[in-house]
């Protein structure tokens, strides 16, 4: 339940990032990608591809004009990340960045593939692909770096020193 609320909150944040008052590049970050990259890298059990089908549908409801391609794209991203993470032992922030980039690529490719037979204009450009992949990878790397900092442990150590 908490995970669902967090994912929903992330989607709302993604919606807010698309506000016209913000920078145009802000909406290029796929904020929910951290929930795709995080579980397999943190050894939190197997990825739930089907769960991301539903999350993708909610994504479509909030951010797209057609419901369906988001489910395909997000589940494809989840499937790709979980498959690669099983054969990669690296769990550093660099791995977070790489997995974020991989998930974003899978997401964008599958989204274009699903849009193609529908005849929808997506305005796809390589620059757009590069920008979105880079920003999302950076976002995932940032989350991974923060997690690697282990702030609660640092805080506990800091408190122990102060109390001593």
């Amino acid at each position: 339940m908490r995970s669902a609320l967090l994912v929903l909150l992330t989607l709302l944040v993604q919606r807010v990032l698309g506000f016209p008052e913000l920078h145009p590049w802000a909406a290029e970050v796929l904020v929910p990608m951290v929930w795709v990259v995080g579980p397999p890298l943190l050894q939190h059990g197997r990825q739930r591809v089907y769960l991301w089908l539903w999350i993708g549908l909610v994504w479509d409801l909030l951010l797209e004009d057609v419901v369906g391609p988001g489910g395909v794209a997000w589940s494809a991203a989840t499937w790709a990340v979980s498959s690669v993470s099983m054969v990669v032992a690296d769990r550093t922030p660099r791995a977070w960045m790489a997995m974020g980039a991989l998930g974003t690529l899978a997401f964008l490719v599958m989204q274009q593939v699903t849009f193609l037979p529908l005849g929808l204009e997506t305005g796809f450009t390589w620059w757009h692909l590069l920008l979105r992949t880079s920003l999302t990878a950076a976002w995932c790397g940032l989350v991974g770096w923060i997690l690697a900092l282990d702030l609660p442990a640092r805080w506990r150590r800091h408190r122990a020193r102060v109390l001593r």
């Binding site: 197997r46 591809v49 089907y50 089908l53 549908l57 057609v66 419901v67 369906g68 391609p69 489910g71 395909v72 589940s75 494809a76 499937w79 699903t114 037979p117 529908l118 005849g119 929808l120």
Partner: protein
């Protein structure tokens, strides 16, 4: 309690199927510039060849069925026409025989004065052992009681019973039949009586009469039934007995077994009782 993990291949297949479903759902929401749903256009693209193939198959099947039905109908028609052809041939043969018989009968009309009022009738039934014959002329055609019946060669008999469309002729071979006869020269007269067989018994011929085998006998008209001069029989045997009369046997001049048509002489019945019904 951990959930059993599905095989990766199964997961992939399920995922692909789910993606296909989602793509279909998305296609249902998107419209083409002409207002047609993308999903509908997909379905048309997929269904059109199938529909065309189905229609073609249906057309071919229908044509085939019609062809088979027409073939059966043609076969039945050919069979029916063959039967009708055979029937027509048979009728043609019968008619040809009738025409020949009628020609013969007409050619054998003995007396020109009898032509007026004579009837031509076709034999529809005969019983030689009983000496009876049915012809297809009756009251409607003006047949009278005791009208003489002639055929190719001579006398056949006389009408004994009539109905509206048919008449029964009593042949001269009937045991009750009797015809007044004479020789061609008219010197000898007698009575030809039926015997129920193929021969006639000529009675009341005196012993002195010069009747020989092969003599032709004709009607004398003395009985008031048959007009005179019609060929009746030909003598086949003459025997003398103790009686004052000769015992003479004769065969009818007409081959009664081959009669197919007769000429009735209703005008020649001077003593016939017209009031007596059929």
């Amino acid at each position: 309690m951990t959930e059993a993990k599905p095989p990766r291949r199964t997961l992939t297949v399920r995922l692909l199927l789910t993606w296909l479903l989602l793509e279909t759902v998305a296609a249902a929401q998107v419209s083409r510039p002409d207002g047609q749903s993308v999903l509908w256009s997909w379905l048309q693209t997929v269904a059109r060849p199938l529909l065309s193939a189905s229609l073609w198959t249906a057309d071919v099947g229908e044509d085939l069925m019609w062809g088979i039905r027409d073939h059966r109908r043609l076969v039945e028609d050919v069979r029916r026409m063959r039967r009708e052809l055979e029937l027509s041939r048979t009728r043609n043969l019968l008619l040809r025989e009738d025409i020949e018989a009628l020609r013969e009968a007409v050619a054998e009309r003995p007396l020109a004065e009898l032509d007026a009022g004579s009837l031509t009738a076709r034999c529809t039934f005969r019983n030689l052992s009983r000496g009876r014959m049915q012809v297809d002329a009756g009251l409607a055609q003006g047949v009278r009681q005791d009208s003489a019946a002639l055929a190719s060669g001579g006398l056949v008999g006389r009408v004994r019973r009539r109905s509206e469309s048919h008449s029964w002729v009593e042949m001269i071979t009937h045991p009750a039949a009797a015809v007044a006869v004479r020789t061609l020269d008219g010197q000898v007269e007698g009575l030809a009586v039926g015997s129920g067989t193929e021969t006639l018994q000529i009675q009341f011929i005196p012993r002195w009469a010069p009747v020989v085998r092969g003599e032709v006998l004709v009607t004398s008209g003395a009985d008031g039934i048959y007009p005179p001069g019609i060929t009746v029989a030909r003598v086949v045997s003459v025997r003398e007995r103790d009686d004052p009369f000769l015992e003479i046997s004769a065969v009818p001049a007409v081959n009664l077994s081959a009669v197919r048509a007769v000429i009735l002489l209703p005008q020649w019945a001077p003593y016939a009782a017209e009031s007596s019904g059929p």
